[in-house]
């Protein structure tokens, strides 16, 4: 009993920070070889560091990474940032984008179920999709699943094309509510810096606040 009317820490409870699940779905096909894959590696490391350095986002953001280069690979499974190291990506093979996006959606859905079971609040999941070409597998099912989630406001998609060969029409099918953007040159680092800041803003948003995107910041790395 505290008659001086001052609460002590032990009289309070702690709940897990509301989570922002983010999946990076990255093209690591053979055409990404050379400078692009090196810059992508720098960009992903920048992204993780940007989230780690924020008071709230370091606990809120959980990052999954799915790559598609020859085959689909799950490098991170919505791990808490404290347990994550930046992966070293290498370029190889074809572009199974449809399969990779489905894998990304599966990971995000599974993570949401885990949050619910553990009584952890969460924000709308994010999917960042990057490619420098066009899919070499069937994408219709992945497109339909993604579009349905976006239209019911259950998923936020950022689709980014790398280089002139990126098929922006395909990307726009995955992102019906937000026009896909083309990366300026190899500004992967700038894109991932922007992405981490955007995730930080969501993680700090008060409930019911629609967080506007930093449109000015987009100019630093992307064009329509």
């Amino acid at each position: 009993m505290t008659d001086d009317m001052t609460l002590r820490e032990e009289e309070l409870v702690s709940n897990p920070t509301a989570r922002v699940p983010v999946c990076l779905c990255l093209d690591t096909s053979g055409s990404m070889g050379g400078d692009p894959i090196d810059e992508l590696n720098v960009g992903v490391a920048t992204f993780l560091e940007g989230l780690r350095s924020d008071e709230v986002a370091q606990f809120a953001a959980e990052v999954a990474i799915v790559t598609f280069g020859g085959f689909v690979s799950e490098l991170l499974d919505c791990a808490s940032l404290s347990r994550v190291e930046a992966p070293s990506l290498s370029a190889y093979g074809e572009t199974p984008m449809g399969q990779a996006v489905e894998k990304a959606l599966d990971l995000l859905e599974a993570r949401k179920r885990e949050y619910s079971n553990a009584g952890v609040d969460y924000f709308q999941p994010w999917l960042a999709l990057m490619t420098d070409g066009q899919p070499t597998d069937a994408i219709d099912r992945a497109v339909n699943r993604t579009a349905a989630l976006v239209q019911s406001r259950k998923l936020s998609v950022f689709a980014v094309g790398v280089g002139e060969a990126a098929d922006m029409t395909v990307l726009s099918r995955f992102s019906p509510n937000r026009q896909p953007l083309r990366l300026r040159g190899l500004r992967f680092r700038q894109f991932f810096e922007w992405l981490s800041k955007s995730v930080v803003r969501v993680s700090q948003s008060t409930p019911r606040q629609d967080v506007p995107l930093d449109l000015l910041g987009i100019k630093d790395w992307g064009t329509v």
Partner: protein, 352 residues
């Protein structure tokens, strides 16, 4: 003789996220104590609404006005018709503000939590997120499961099209309830454990502060704790607010030992002579009573006029939930002690 008096306190502080954005507090609490009822209300303005702060203020204000106007009739009404009345009154209040501002009503969106008690009757309700703790048998339990969406940033507001369907209203006798605490979701992060569905010890303790301190002191302490302790905890960035409605039970002689300010609040008497007379009446009531001539007995014991005694009896019965009954009407012509030493109902207090 045990007195039972419901008392109220509350506070709201801006969260660190809004502070960094240069925005004000979008939570609002209000409380009102009259001899007929005690009420608390709390609203959390929608982050997406342009006039979130004003919307929360309107929601609290409208709710307290509804209580003031209709509380005595609520015990005769089904809860869903009260819910509809609340939502339609909110719509009216917000509509006129929205028209003045030239925006859609949703720009004034907020949640709403409230509780009011008087005459042994209790009503409480909730729309949207936040939590209401009800103290029963010494334990705090949630009043209801708040209506919320899948994501942290989704809930229902007073301006939502389906608000009347989602508002939860409950009413009934208040015998088993010792206190009610309203909290916005910003506060609930530190006061309610989501996984175990239990309230923090702090909720019990804060409600108990009203047993020993004046409402003004408790409101000040709530504000200081929200500001210095709760809003600075890691990961807590939202606005934080809390409102307490507490049954303060006390023996007459224990009350007589309390600080003058506490007695004054408890018996709703500001003037020294009004307070002294109220105590005289309470003490006279504590001795074995006559079946007839009760007022006369108290007049003899206190030296007060019959009209003054009747006024005190009538008023203390309502404020302190005493079970005695004296059906003789107060005579307007008995004017010896005509001046009102019972304070008129205070204006509702607001905290933002």
């Amino acid at each position: 003789m045990t007195l039972n008096r419901w008392m109220t306190a509350g506070a709201a502080v801006v969260g660190r996220a809004h502070e960094q954005q240069g925005a004000g507090c979008q939570d609002c609490v209000g409380y009102s104590d009259t001899s007929k009822f005690s009420a608390v209300a709390l609203a959390d303005g929608a982050g997406s609404a342009k006039y979130a702060s004003e919307g929360a203020g309107i929601a609290v204000n409208v709710l307290l006005r509804i209580i003031e106007r209709s509380f005595s009739s609520f015990s005769q009404q089904p809860s869903d018709s009260i819910g509809k009345l609340i939502i339609s009154s909110m719509a009216d209040g917000i509509e006129s503000a929205a028209q003045t501002a030239g925006v859609a009503p949703r720009e004034f969106a907020s949640t709403l939590l409230f509780a009011a008690t008087g005459g042994g009757f209790l009503i409480a309700g909730q729309l949207g997120d936040g939590l209401i703790a009800v103290q029963k048998n010494g334990r705090m339990v949630p009043l209801c499961e708040p209506a919320k969406g899948e994501f942290k940033n989704e809930t229902v507001f007073v301006t939502s099209p389906n608000a009347a369907k989602h508002i939860f209203v409950t009413l009934g006798p208040c015998d088993a309830v010792a206190g009610i605490v309203l909290m916005s979701d910003g506060s609930a992060d530190s006061l309610f454990h989501n996984e175990s569905r239990t309230f923090a010890q702090a909720v019990n303790n804060m409600a108990g502060w009203l047993d020993r301190h004046t409402p003004a002191d408790v409101s000040k302490a709530l504000r200081e704790n929200l500001w210095n302790v709760i809003r600075n905890r890691p990961g807590i960035t939202d606005d934080c607010s809390i409102a307490v409605l507490r049954r303060v039970s006390i023996e007459v002689e224990d009350l007589a030992q309390r600080a003058r300010e506490f007695q004054s609040c408890y018996l709703n008497r500001k003037r020294a002579d009004g307070l002294k007379n109220a105590f005289s009446v309470l003490r006279a009531m504590s001795v074995p009573r006559l079946a007839r001539g009760y007022v006369k007995q108290i007049c003899t014991a206190t030296g007060l006029s019959p009209s003054a005694v009747r006024r005190h009896l009538h008023d203390l019965k309502e404020i302190c939930q005493l079970t005695f009954m004296d059906s003789t009407p107060v005579l307007a012509s008995a004017t010896q002690d005509k001046r009102a030493d019972v304070d008129s109902s205070p204006q509702p207090a607001f905290e933002r």
